[in-house]
C-alpha cells in the first residue's frame, strides 16, 4: 500500500493507506485507549473507548476500525472525546464491582487505568449490580463474571489465535456472558475442554479471568518480574516470572507474558505459563547426597561431596584412563554449561565419552548444510514467510509456539502452509494442501516433490521461496536428501524440530563422542586444537556407555539427564561404576548415584540457550533455591576439587591462558593469551569470576563455528541467530547414529522427567483425562 499523509491532533503523520488509525497513532506515540481492539485479532469496535473525531464526519468514529487515507484530519483528544471515554468508563463501572483492593487484577487492570485517566470517580448510579457467582472452568482458569467487560479478547484469542474455539458468548444484552465449551448442570457452559494455554487469562484486560496457580497469592507490585526463557519445549518462548521472596530463597508465583519483548510476543502455552512450579516442589534436592557405608544416600556438605567426587574421578582417570569415564549432558542446561561440560570431559577427564539424550538429528542436519551458510530459518521468520512446508512433527502438541506462528501467518498474511505427514495433525486446518506419507516414507519426499506429479508437489515447486520445517521423524539420510533437494533451489531454507529448551544447544556445544562444539570432528579439531590433552579418538555414545556388554565404566558423570528411565537401562551396567549425578530431583538415575549434587534449574541461573531454530537467547536468574547450585558452578568446583587449574577451563581474570605459555606440548605452546587478544579485539572485558558463565560464552563465540553472536542485541534481551553449518563437511559417526535419537514426544502438559514435578501441569493433565473419560462414557 502506498503511504498517505493525514493529520492527527495537528501533527502530520504518514502511514501506508489502509492502516488502522489506532495502529498508525500508536506508532507515532499517540495512545488511543481501547479495551476490545487487540493487534492481530479480528476487529470488534465494541468497547467504544477509541472514539475520535474525524473532520467532516458527523459522529465520533472508532479509531480501531477507521483506515487512514490521504488528507484526513483527526482529533483524538478534546473535551468531547474525553467526555465520551469517561462516560464509557462510568457505564462499565455501573455493573462492575468496585472492590479493586481485593481484585486479583488490581494494579494491572486496564479498567482501573482508564478510570484513573478519565476520572470517572463519581458513582452516578446507585442501582444494584448484576451479580453472578465466580466459576472455576478448569484447574488453570477461573471466571469472575461481574468483572467481565465483554471485550471478547478471550473469545478471539482462543478461537482465532489458538484455533481451539473453546469460548463463546451466551445470552444477549446485559445478560451476555462469556462461556466455556462444556455445559454444566444448568445448560450454560461451566467447564473448559481446551489446550489450557491460559492465553485468555493473559489477554483479559481486567480481573475476570484469573489463573488457578496465581490468583490471590500476592499483589503484582510485591513481585519482581524477571524475563527469561521457558525451560520446557524447544521453541524458546520468553516468559516473565513473577518472583516473591520466601523463607528458602525466593518463590516463583506466576509465569506470564507481561514482558512481550520476546519473539513469542503474546504467546505462551500451558507449560510456559503454569509449568514453573517444579522449582518449589517439596522433593527438590537442596543438599548434596553421599552414599554411606550402609549403601544409603545421606545428606552431606558441599565440601565433602565435592571432595569425594573429585577424588574418585581423579583416581579413575589416573589409574584406569579417561576412556573409562563417561559423561552425559543435558538438554535443559545452558550453552555455557554444556560447553563447559564437554571441555571438562575432554580436557580434565581426558575422555571423548560424552553424549546426551538426542531428541533429533541435529548432527545430520548440520552436516547436510555444511558449507551453505544462511540456509536455516529462525522462528521469528515464520509469521511472515510466504510459504512453509511442514514435514512430519505435530507442532500443536509439541511446538505450541511454532504452531501459533504458523496459524498467525496463515490468518494474517494468507501464507501458504503445506503439510506432509504420516498421520493427521491439527494444523491441517490451516494448510493449503496436505500430503499423506507412509510412516518411514520421509526419505522419499525429495524424489516425490521433484517428480511434480501431484498437486502438492506442483504447488511446492511453484513456490519462489520456501521454509522447510522437519519433524523429529526425520533422521540421517532423509534429512540429507531433502536438504540436498532444497539446496538445489534458490530460496529454500530449513528448520528442524527437537524437543527441549536447549536440545539444539546441547548438540551445538559438542555433547557428542565424535563431534566438538560446532560439529567439528574430534579427529580434525581445528580451533579446538588449543584444548590441552584433547583425546584424539571418538568416544562412546550414550547407549554404549550404558551397555552391560561394554563391561561398565569406572565413573560416570550425569548432568541433568535421566537415562535410566529414558533408556530402560540394565542396572547391572552401572554396578561397578562410580556414578555422579547433578540434578534437581532424586530421579531414577540420581537414586543410583554415589554422589548427588543439587542443581539449580534454568530459572535459577544465567546463561544462554539455543532453540530448535537456532535462535539464541539469554536466560536470567529469576529465583533462588537455597542449597542448589548452577551446574556451571558445580563443574567448576568439581574441577577445583580434582586439583585442576580452573583458569584452563573457564577463561576468567587477566591472563587466562598465559598459564599455557610455559607449556611444552600442545598446539598453543608458546603462544600469547589468545582469549585476551580476542576479547580486546572485540571490545570485551575479561570476566572476573570463575563462576561467570559469560566467560565461557566469550570462549564459545571465539571458538565455535556458527556462534558469531550479535552481542548488542543479545544484551538488550533479544534473540540472536546462530548457524549450525560447520565450515567443513563432517563425516563423524554421530551422523549415522539414527538409533541414538529418541524423541521425547512431550505433549502440551508433559515435559519428560521434569514434567513429573510440575504439579500444576499434572493437575491439568488429570483434568483433561477425566474429561475425556467422561466424554467416552457418554
Amino acid at each position: 500500500m502506498p503511504d498517505v499523509t493525514f493529520t492527527v491532533d495537528g501533527k502530520k503523520l504518514t502511514a501506508p493507506a489502509g492502516t488502522l488509525l489506532i495502529e498508525a497513532c500508536r506508532k507515532a506515540g499517540i495512545e488511543i485507549p481501547s479495551f476490545c481492539y487487540y493487534p492481530g485479532l479480528s476487529l470488534q469496535a465494541a468497547c467504544r473507548m477509541c472514539l475520535v473525531r474525524q473532520e467532516k464526519v458527523p459522529k465520533l468514529q472508532t479509531a480501531c476500525t477507521t483506515t487512514v487515507a490521504e488528507g484526513q484530519i483527526f482529533t483524538t483528544e478534546s473535551p468531547e472525546i474525553t467526555q465520551a471515554r469517561k462516560a464509557m468508563t462510568e457505564l462499565l463501572l455501573g455493573n462492575h464491582p468496585l472492590d479493586c483492593p481485593v481484585c486479583d487484577a488490581g494494579g494491572e487492570c486496564e479498567l482501573q487505568d482508564m478510570t484513573f485517566k478519565y476520572g470517572a470517580g463519581e458513582s452516578l448510579y446507585a442501582e444494584t449490580k448484576q451479580h453472578r457467582n465466580e466459576q472455576q472452568w478448569s484447574p488453570a482458569v477461573f471466571y469472575d463474571r461481574p468483572r467481565c467487560i465483554l471485550c471478547y479478547r478471550c473469545v478471539r484469542v482462543c478461537g482465532e489465535g489458538m484455533d481451539v474455539w473453546a469460548l463463546g458468548v451466551e445470552n444477549r444484552g446485559v445478560h451476555s456472558v462469556i462461556v466455556p465449551n462444556v455445559p454444566g448442570e444448568n445448560g450454560g457452559g461451566d467447564q473448559l475442554d481446551c489446550e489450557e494455554c491460559g492465553m485468555c487469562i493473559d489477554i483479559c484486560p481486567v480481573g475476570a479471568l484469573t489463573s488457578g496457580s496465581y490468583r490471590y497469592k500476592t499483589r503484582p507490585w510485591e513481585m519482581n518480574h524477571v524475563s527469561t526463557v521457558c525451560t520446557h519445549c524447544a521453541d524458546g518462548c520468553k516468559v516473565t516470572l513473577g518472583v516473591r521472596q520466601s523463607n528458602n530463597g525466593s518463590e516463583i508465583v506466576r509465569g506470564d507474558n507481561r514482558d512481550k519483548s520476546g519473539m513469542n510476543g503474546d504467546f505462551l502455552c500451558a507449560k510456559g505459563r503454569f509449568g514453573f512450579d517444579f522449582v518449589n516442589h517439596p522433593e527438590r534436592l537442596t543438599t548434596p547426597l553421599l552414599r554411606n557405608a550402609a549403601g544409603e544416600l545421606e545428606p552431606a556438605t558441599w565440601e565433602d561431596a565435592l571432595r569425594v567426587a573429585g577424588a574418585r574421578l581423579k583416581e579413575v582417570r589416573d589409574s584406569r584412563g579417561g576412556a573409562t569415564i563417561g559423561v552425559i549432558g543435558s538438554n535443559r542446561t545452558t550453552n555455557e554449561e554444556n560447553y563447559l561440560l564437554q571441555k571438562f570431559a575432554r580436557t580434565v577427564l581426558a575422555t571423548n565419552n560424552i553424549d546426551h539424550e538426542r531428541t533429533t538429528d541435529y548432527a545430520a542436519f548440520a552436516c547436510a548444510l555444511a558449507g551453505h551458510p544462511g540456509k536455516t530459518a529462525g522462528l521469528r521468520e515464520i509469521p511472515s514467510a510466504p510459504a512453509i512446508l511442514l514435514v512430519g512433527g505435530n507442532p500443536t502438541d509439541e511446538h505450541p509456539f511454532l504452531a501459533w506462528q504458523l496459524r498467525t501467518n496463515v490468518r494474517l498474511n494468507k501464507a501458504r502452509l503445506y503439510i506432509a505427514n504420516s498421520r493427521p495433525i491439527k494444523l491441517e486446518r490451516q494448510a493449503k494442501l496436505t500430503q499423506e506419507l507412509p510412516p518411514g516414507g520421509y526419505w522419499r519426499l525429495a524424489a516425490f516433490l521433484d517428480a511434480g506429479q501431484s498437486d502438492f508437489s506442483k504447488a511446492i515447486l511453484a513456490e519462489e521461496s520456501l521454509i522447510v520445517i522437519f519433524g523429529e521423524e526425520f533422521r540421517g539420510p532423509a534429512v540429507e536428501s531433502l536438504i540436498a533437494w532444497g539446496l538445489k533451489r534458490a530460496n529454500v531454507r530449513f528448520a528442524y524440530l527437537g524437543d527441549h529448551a536447549n536440545s539444539h544447544g546441547a548438540a551445538d556445544m559438542g555433547l557428542f563422542p565424535d563431534l566438538l562444539p560446532g560439529y567439528v570432528p574430534v579427529t580434525a579439531p581445528g580451533p579446538f586444537a588449543e584444548y590441552p590433552n584433547l583425546p584424539a579418538a571418538p568416544g562412546k555414545t550414550l547407549p554404549q556407555m550404558l551397555d552391560v556388554a561394554n563391561g561398565g565404566l569406572g565413573a560416570l558423570l550425569v548432568v541433568g539427564a535421566n537415562p535410566v528411565t529414558r533408556r530402560e537401562v540394565d542396572l547391572a551396567a552401572l554396578q561397578n561404576t562410580f556414578l555422579i549425578v547433578q540434578d534437581l530431583f532424586l530421579t531414577e538415575t540420581a537414586a543410583l548415584a554415589h554422589v548427588v549434587f543439587p542443581a539449580a534449574s534454568l530459572y535459577e541461573k544465567s546463561g544462554t540457550v539455543t532453540n530448535t531454530f537456532g535462535d539464541l537467547q539469554m536466560v536470567r536468574k529469576a529465583s533462588d533455591r537455597a542449597g542448589a547450585k548452577p551446574d556451571f558452578e558445580i563443574l567448576v568446583r568439581l574441577a577445583g576439587a580434582m586439583g585442576e587449574e580452573v583458569k584452563k577451563l573457564v577463561p576468567f581474570g587477566r591472563g587466562a591462558m598465559t598459564a599455557d605459555l610455559g607449556q611444552s606440548r600442545g598446539a598453543q605452546a608458546g603462544e600469547a593469551d589468545r582469549h585476551a587478544v580476542w576479547l580486546e579485539a572485540n571490545g570485551l572485558e575479561p570476566r572476573l569470576s570463575p563462576f561467570d558463565p559469560f566467560a565461557v560464552l566469550d570462549e564459545i563465540e571465539r571458538l565455535v563455528p556458527g556462534y558469531k553472536l550479535d552481542r548488542m542485541n543479545l544484551m538488550t534481551g533479544n534473540d540472536v541467530r546462530t548457524e549450525v553449518a560447520p565450515t567443513q563437511p563432517a563425516t563423524a559417526s554421530a551422523i549415522g547414529g539414527e538409533d541414538l535419537i529418541v524423541p521425547a514426544h512431550d505433549t502440551l502438559f508433559t515435559s519428560s522427567t521434569l514434567g513429573r514435578y510440575c504439579s500444576g501441569l499434572n493437575e491439568i493433565e488429570a483434568h483433561q483425562t477425566r474429561e475425556h473419560a467422561e466424554a467416552a462414557a457418554d
Partner: protein, 437 residues
C-alpha cells in the same frame, strides 16, 4: 385476525388488495399482480433503478433512505453472487404493517423482490420473517411455492430465460436482527450481532456478496410504482417523499388500525379525524410518531406533515410508521420505563454504551417510578442517555437514548412530580411488571 379499517382520506396503493384474498396466486393475478415484473423484464436494469429513484420511494423500515439510490450503489460486476434481502423482522413497537402485507398480499413482496433482483442483477432473494409470524411464514411459503409452480420463480422466470430464486427464513425472537447487518448474521446462522461498517451491505453483504436490503413494505410498494409509473406515485406524496405509506395508529385513539395515507398527511388530522380522536373523551398528552424509538411529540408539536423531512424538522422521526397516541391519564415515566425496558431486553449486548446504558436506564427509571427517585436522578438519566447517543455500535443504542432524552426534556415536570415520596400521580392498581427477561 387483525381487523382491517378504512377511512375516506386513505389512498390505497399498497393496501389495495388487503381483504381481497390476494394471498391466493390466481386472485393476485386477477387483481393485476405480476404485471409489473413482466414490464420490468422487458426493460433494462437501469430503467428500473431510475424509475424507483424518481418515484421518491423512501425506505419504510425506519431510516427512510431513497430506495432507488440504495439499489444504484450495488456494483454492476461482482465476483460473488448478489442478493436481495427483504426485511420482514418487523419488531419496532408500534409497527404492525408488514404483518398485514404478509397476511393479505404476500405475492406483492415476492413480485417486488424479483423486480429488485432484476434492477441490481441479483439471482436470489431472501425473505426474512420474524419468528413470531409463523402463520405468516406459512402463507408466504405457500405463495412462494405457487410462484415456483407457475414459473414465476426458478431458472427461467416468466419464460424470459432469467433466473430468480426466493428463499424464506424465520427468525426466533430478536428485535436487533431487524438491523440490516445483524439480519445478515442471523440469516447466516449466527448471533444477531451487527457488522462493522463500512463495508456497507451494497458492497459486502449476505454471504459476502453485494446485497440490497429493504423493508417488506418498501418491496411490496415496488410493483405498484412500476405499475402506476414513478411520476404518478411521487405525485401522491410531498417533495422527496413519494407516495403513500402504511401508518399504524395505536394507543389511545378511538379507531386504531393501519391506514394508508399520502406522505405528508397531517399528524393532528391523522389522530383526530382518521383515528377519531383520543378515546374515552380523554385529552391528548403525547404522540410517538414513528415507532417507539422516535422522540415523543407534545400536543402542540403535532400540527406537522407526516413525511421524513417534516417530522425530522420537528425534532423527531417518521421511523417505521407506528403512531402511538398517549392520553393524559398515562404516566410518562411509566411509558418511558416500558420503552427502555424493551431496548434493554433487545440490546444485543455487543457494545458497552448500549448494553450497560439500557440496563442502567431501565433500573433507574424503575426505581424512580416506584417512588424511590432522587432529584439528581432526572439529570442523571438524561446525562446517561445523552452519553449513549451517537456512540453505540449500531443505531439500537440511539433508538433507546433518543426517546429517553425526549421524555425527560419534554415532560420534566412529570418526573419531578414523582419525587419527594410522591406516588405516581397516575398510579393504578398494580404497578407495571416489566418482568420480561
Amino acid at each position: 385476525m387483525p381487523r382491517l379499517v378504512s377511512h375516506p382520506d386513505e389512498v390505497k396503493i399498497v393496501s389495495r388488495r388487503f381483504g381481497q384474498g390476494a394471498a391466493n396466486i390466481d386472485r393476485y393475478i386477477e387483481l393485476g399482480g405480476y404485471e409489473s415484473v413482466k414490464k420490468c423484464l422487458a426493460q433494462t436494469s437501469d430503467w428500473i433503478v431510475n424509475e424507483i429513484k424518481s418515484s421518491n420511494l423512501r425506505g419504510r423500515g425506519g431510516a427512510g433512505f431513497s430506495t432507488g439510490m440504495k439499489w444504484s450503489f450495488v456494483p454492476k460486476q461482482s465476483a460473488k453472487p448478489k442478493y436481495i434481502l427483504v426485511n420482514g423482522d418487523e419488531s419496532e413497537p408500534g409497527t404492525c404493517k408488514d404483518h398485514l402485507i404478509f397476511l393479505h398480499d404476500p405475492h406483492a413482496v415476492i413480485e417486488g423482490t424479483i423486480i429488485a433482483g432484476l434492477a441490481v442483477g441479483a439471482k436470489s432473494g431472501f425473505i426474512y420473517l420474524r419468528g413470531e409470524y409463523r402463520y405468516l411464514l406459512e402463507i408466504l411459503e405457500r405463495a412462494v411455492a405457487d410462484a415456483y409452480a407457475r414459473g414465476f420463480l426458478g431458472k427461467n422466470i416468466f419464460g424470459s430465460g432469467t433466473e430468480f430464486e426466493i428463499i424464506t427464513q424465520t427468525g426466533a425472537g430478536a428485535y436487533e436482527v431487524g438491523e440490516e447487518s445483524a439480519l445478515m448474521e442471523s440469516l447466516e446462522g449466527k448471533r444477531g450481532i451487527p457488522r462493522i461498517k463500512p463495508p456497507f451491505p451494497a458492497v459486502v453483504g449476505l454471504y459476502g456478496g453485494p446485497t440490497v436490503i429493504n423493508n417488506a413494505e418498501t418491496v411490496a410498494t415496488v410493483p405498484h410504482v412500476i405499475a402506476m409509473g414513478a411520476a404518478a406515485y411521487a405525485e401522491l406524496g410531498t417533495p422527496r417523499n413519494g407516495g403513500t405509506r402504511l401508518f399504524c395508529l395505536s394507543g389511545h385513539v378511538q379507531f386504531p388500525g393501519v391506514y394508508e395515507l399520502p406522505m405528508g398527511y397531517n399528524l393532528k388530522k391523522m389522530i383526530y379525524e382518521v383515528g377519531g380522536g383520543v378515546a374515552n373523551g380523554n385529552q391528548l398528552k403525547a404522540v410517538v410518531p414513528g415507532g417507539s424509538s422516535t422522540p415523543v411529540l407534545r400536543p402542540e408539536e403535532i400540527d406537522i406533515g407526516m413525511d421524513f423531512d417534516q417530522v425530522g424538522k420537528a425534532g423527531s422521526m417518521l421511523g417505521s410508521g407506528g403512531v402511538v397516541v398517549i392520553d393524559d391519564h398515562t404516566c410518562v415515566v411509566e411509558f418511558a420505563l416500558r420503552t427502555i425496558g424493551f431496548y434493554q431486553h433487545e440490546s444485543c449486548g455487543w457494545c458497552i454504551p448500549c448494553r450497560e446504558g439500557t440496563d442502567w436506564l431501565k433500573k433507574s427509571l424503575a426505581r424512580f417510578h416506584a417512588g424511590f427517585g432522587k432529584a439528581t436522578d432526572i439529570d442523571n438519566i438524561q446525562y446517561l442517555a445523552e452519553n449513549m447517543l451517537g456512540r453505540t455500535f449500531c443505531p439500537l443504542g440511539d433508538a433507546a437514548a433518543m426517546p429517553t432524552i425526549a421524555f425527560v426534556k419534554k415532560f420534566r415536570k412529570e418526573f419531578e412530580d414523582h419525587l419527594n415520596g410522591e406516588p405516581c400521580p397516575f398510579a393504578r392498581e398494580g404497578v407495571p411488571h416489566l418482568t420480561v427477561v
